[in-house]
Amino acid sequence: MIEVTHLTKRYGRTAAVDDLSFTVEKGQIYGFLGPNGAGKSTTMNILTGYIAPGAGEVRIAGHSILDEPEAARKCIGYLPEIPPVYPEMTVAEYLKFAAGLKKLPSGERARLIGEAMELTGITEVKNRLIRNLSKGYRQRTGLAQAILGFPEIIILDEPMVGLDPKQIIEIRELIKQLGEQHTVILSSHILSEISAICDHIMIIAHGRLVASDTPQNLLGMMRGAGAVELTVRGTETEVRRALEAIGGGISFTAHPSEHEENACEVSVKSDAEGDLREQLFYLFAGAGLPILRMQNAHASLEEVFLELTEEVHYDDDL
């Protein structure tokens, strides 16, 4: 669907995007993740043809963004970081204008605009001036513009910014729904957002792609650091004695719980791969120590993210 090869863009001496290559497959949701200033917006602006790449090539559905810009842009719906709305227009006027720009067939425009407004939940404000709308509604108007006419590729730059928690859930559902038939790329610097909806995560730092994989695999990369966390009823000595009975192969910490009377917070880590939970269940059951809580505490995406973006930082100093 999208092929990006050796994309580079420099502003003065600093590289905003540095030799970036990736491919985007049809019908999946991709997440661009990276700290602020990592080159996410620049990359998206290049993909949509707003700015030209300094070097490298971008092909959208087979069309080169430089040689056939109109054909390539026709496949894309784009919501930039700041929604490109005209304050002096009403929502309906704005979408009508966008439909004209996108050259949607004139017979279907009214229906497509209606659908886009319905999906983004802005039908009730359609006759209000955009000037008078809140940030969340402006954002949704911009989103309605991006999905208008259901282009094959939908690119959203930080779509959740400015939305309240209820709207975030709605928009998340909408993006998931769109992802069933369309290719969606969205960017964010907030991990929970990306991990909740994306099939594929691309982590960008300092203009370079540092990781590109499914959320599960990215977590897997850090599985070694995983541990099991438990709250066990019993004194610290009882718990320690029970765990020591396992023998080697594990390391653990245990200390009295601050939240519960007569209980211990325990963290157990296996040196080898494999799930400790069942073993721990029978162990504590056998020792007569009830388990109050147990969960896998494998590394969060935050940790993966920090580790990956840190590494690149050191490279850069060379």
Partner: protein, 287 residues
């Protein structure tokens, strides 16, 4: 292109700016028409048009200042430039909208000679030729305003720069007369101009070799031409500055002559500035 055209025309007609522009043109033309034709009983409407050319200095910047600068400031250019519309289409749509708004006061002004005709004999052909020239001049100015609006994201800067550009066009004839018309005088001034350009090249590119090579070649060409045929230099400065003399070309139309050179000139100026506008938008993509 039609989508952008319609949006711009609507935008002007639903906001103050379009009406301010139209009203300003109509008020000024009304006052001059009343003074010259109705009160003074002067038969030539072209005289009125000639006298009120200064309206463009204020009216054109008012109309053109926001047309591209505002898109950039509120980031809506991202919508336009990522849509499947070519930049040429965007620029043409906007320009035609400007011309359409300008046509409204021009259409009203077309009625003035008819009013005047009630009180005497009017040479319609001459009068409407003059008005056509007035329209062409306005179209060229609008193209300049559109271009200036494309190089900045501030409406104020766009308005001031447009005013300055139009003002230079307006007074260039006077400026040209500061320079000597003799071949010797023109020759020295051109040599000085070459030196200035060479210094500018050095300052901009920071490359001594290019500046020196340019200076030497250009100066040598000027000297060679001077030796071969000194007469070429007679009044040359005036001719060169005459290229920017937009209002000067209007006087032929004002005399009632359908001046084809003038027509070609105005269309070329318009074409050049529309082209420059497209280039200035494209250039931003690459910077």
């Amino acid at each position: 292109m039609t989508t952008i055209y319609r949006k711009e025309v609507r935008g002007y007609l639903t906001s103050m700016i379009g009406y301010v522009f139209i009203a300003f043109l109509l008020v000024v033309s009304g006052i001059y028409f009343t003074a010259y034709q109705l009160q003074g009983a002067y038969p030539y409407f072209s005289y009125t048009l000639q006298a009120m050319l200064f309206v463009f200095l204020v009216a054109v910047p008012v109309l053109t200042m926001r047309i591209l600068a505002e898109e950039r400031r509120q980031r809506t250019d991202q919508l336009l430039l990522t849509s499947p519309v070519a930049v040429t289409g965007i620029v043409l749509g906007k320009y035609l909208a400007l011309v359409t708004i300008f046509l409204i006061p021009v259409a009203v002004i077309m009625l003035y000679p008819l009013i005047a005709a009630r009180f005497g004999t009017i040479g319609y052909a001459e009068t409407y030729t003059a008005l056509f020239g007035f329209f062409l001049l306005g179209c060229s100015f609008l193209a300049i305003g559109l271009y200036v609006s494309s190089v900045t994201e501030s409406q104020v800067i766009a308005a001031v720069l447009t005013f300055l550009a139009l003002f230079v066009c307006y007074v260039i004839e006077g400026i040209a007369s500061f320079f000597p018309e003799t071949s010797e005088g023109s020759f020295y001034i051109l040599i000085a101009a070459v030196l200035v350009i060479a210094v500018l090249i050095y300052l901009i590119l920071g490359n001594v070799a290019v500046a020196v090579v340019f200076g030497v070649i250009a100066a040598a060409a000027l000297v060679a031409l001077y030796i071969a045929d000194a007469a070429v230099y007679e009044g040359l400065i005036q001719k060169m500055l005459g290229v920017f003399d937009l209002t000067g070309h209007f006087s032929e139309f004002a005399n009632g002559i359908f001046d084809v050179t003038g027509l070609v000139y105005y269309l070329s100026v318009t074409g050049v500035f529309l082209f420059l506008t497209v280039q200035s938008i494209q250039k931003r993509r690459w910077s």
